[in-house]
């Protein structure tokens, strides 16, 4: 496999959410608005890339029977470490991130990529795979965040776009259902549908 594919594939035909169906839980939780979706996407990308790299370096020394625990320890250490450093030096960023820390550690994508890729590939490939999967996860998050914030709240990145367009004056009302988790799941379903259709065609 070419190295560029390691980054390119997870964006579409091997997307962690729509094809591997990993990380659904957090993608329902943080996409009610665009901003948290972007913050979460960036933090997961950093964590998947770094933990993939570290586990890949350690892979030959890890006893198979305790590998999951070892992976978990590495991931949580990394996340706590990053959060502690942010808290001391860039407090505002850490405030933004604090709620995601728990979500990142338990994100299935992180463990999934460690188990499926980093345990059997070299450090450079693993790093690229981590970045690719983080971004693939991010794309879906941003799409969901965009749709849900726009139609659920009438805002984008907190900016009241529908209000400025005057849509409320002609009888438009925000759709509260889009803010709820079930709607996120339905939207993910629609994205999977569109994606499968495109794959079949090509």
């Amino acid at each position: 496999m070419k190295r560029i594919d390691l980054i390119k594939n997870p964006l579409s035909k091997d997307n962690p959410i729509t094809v591997q169906v990993l990380g659904i839980c957090s993608c329902l939780a943080v996409t009610a608005q665009l901003k948290p979706a972007v913050v979460m996407a960036l933090s997961v990308t950093v964590v998947v890339a770094l933990s993939n790299l570290i586990i890949s370096l350690m892979r030959n020394t890890i006893p198979p029977r305790i590998r999951i625990i070892v992976q978990l320890v590495v991931v949580s250490t990394l996340v706590i470490l990053v959060n502690q450093i942010l808290m001391a030096f860039v407090y505002d960023v850490s405030k933004q991130l604090s709620v995601y820390v728990g979500l990142i550690i338990t994100n299935c994508i992180v463990m999934g990529r460690l188990e499926a890729f980093a345990m059997s590939h070299g450090p450079v490939d693993s790093l690229l795979d981590g970045i690719g999967n983080g971004l693939g996860y991010g794309i879906i998050l941003v799409i969901l965040g965009f749709v849900r914030e726009l139609f659920g709240r009438g805002t984008l990145w907190g900016y009241p776009i529908f209000e400025k367009l005057g849509l409320y004056n002609i009888g438009y009302e925000n759709n509260g259902f889009i803010i709820m988790a079930p709607m996120a799941l339905i939207l993910v379903g629609i994205i999977i549908w569109i994606q499968r259709r495109n794959c079949e065609k090509s």
Binding site: V30, P64, I69, L81, Q84, Y91, V99, M180
Partner: protein
């Protein structure tokens, strides 16, 4: 797949745990003073915000000295504060996933002049919205004199103690209501004091 002896496995686990423990402890203790400083400054920043003073974290300490007094009788670390014209009470409670808190500035008739809310781990975009100015603004003008403020859906906007909840965050908003009730009872003695 390579096979490893039990002894190796045990030592590996112990070794990893030791390395991680030392690393985390070192980082946590060495960064503690800096983090504490940030948190203290943020607390002062929030208290100032309830009385309408927006400031940066760096300038918060100085402005706090000028505008806010800590009463003599105050015993606890996080008890109430006095400002020119009223009292600022801390709020503490539980949201859906973890602790929530905040500060409420009340004038002499126990009408809210400003509010600030914080949370540790509420859901972003839903419960976490209590920390926004938009939500805090809804409390301004409401009264804590005869009954606590209630956060509920379809709140009556003309009521003196009802505030509109956030859709999708019922549990967090119930937590805010509970926090108000607790503060109302705990600081009932202040109503007399402020009126003096």
């Amino acid at each position: 797949m390579k096979s490893f002896s039990n002894k190796y496995m045990l030592l590996y686990a112990l070794g990893l745990a030791a390395v991680v423990a030392v690393l985390l402890t070192l980082v946590a203790t060495s960064l503690k003073p800096r983090q504490q400083k940030n948190q203290d400054a943020e607390k002062k920043q929030m208290i100032l915000k309830t009385i309408g003073i927006e400031t940066s974290r760096e300038e918060a300490a100085e402005l706090f000295e000028k505008n806010v007094r800590i009463p003599q009788k105050s015993n606890g670390e996080d008890d109430y504060y006095l400002f020119n014209g009223g009292v600022i009470i801390p709020l503490k409670g539980n949201g859906l996933w973890g602790p929530i808190g905040g500060y409420l500035a009340l004038d002499s008739s126990f009408t809210v002049v400003g509010a600030v809310f914080t949370h540790e781990s509420e859901t972003p975009g839903l419960g976490a919205e209590i920390a926004t100015d938009k939500f805090a603004q809804r409390f301004v003008g409401k009264q804590m004199a005869s009954q606590p403020i209630v956060v509920r859906k379809n709140a009556d906007h003309n009521s003196i103690n009802e505030v509109d909840a956030i859709s999708g965050s019922t549990m967090t908003c119930n937590g805010v209501s509970a926090m108000m009730t607790a503060a109302f009872e705990h600081y009932s003695h202040l109503r007399k004091e402020v009126n003096k």
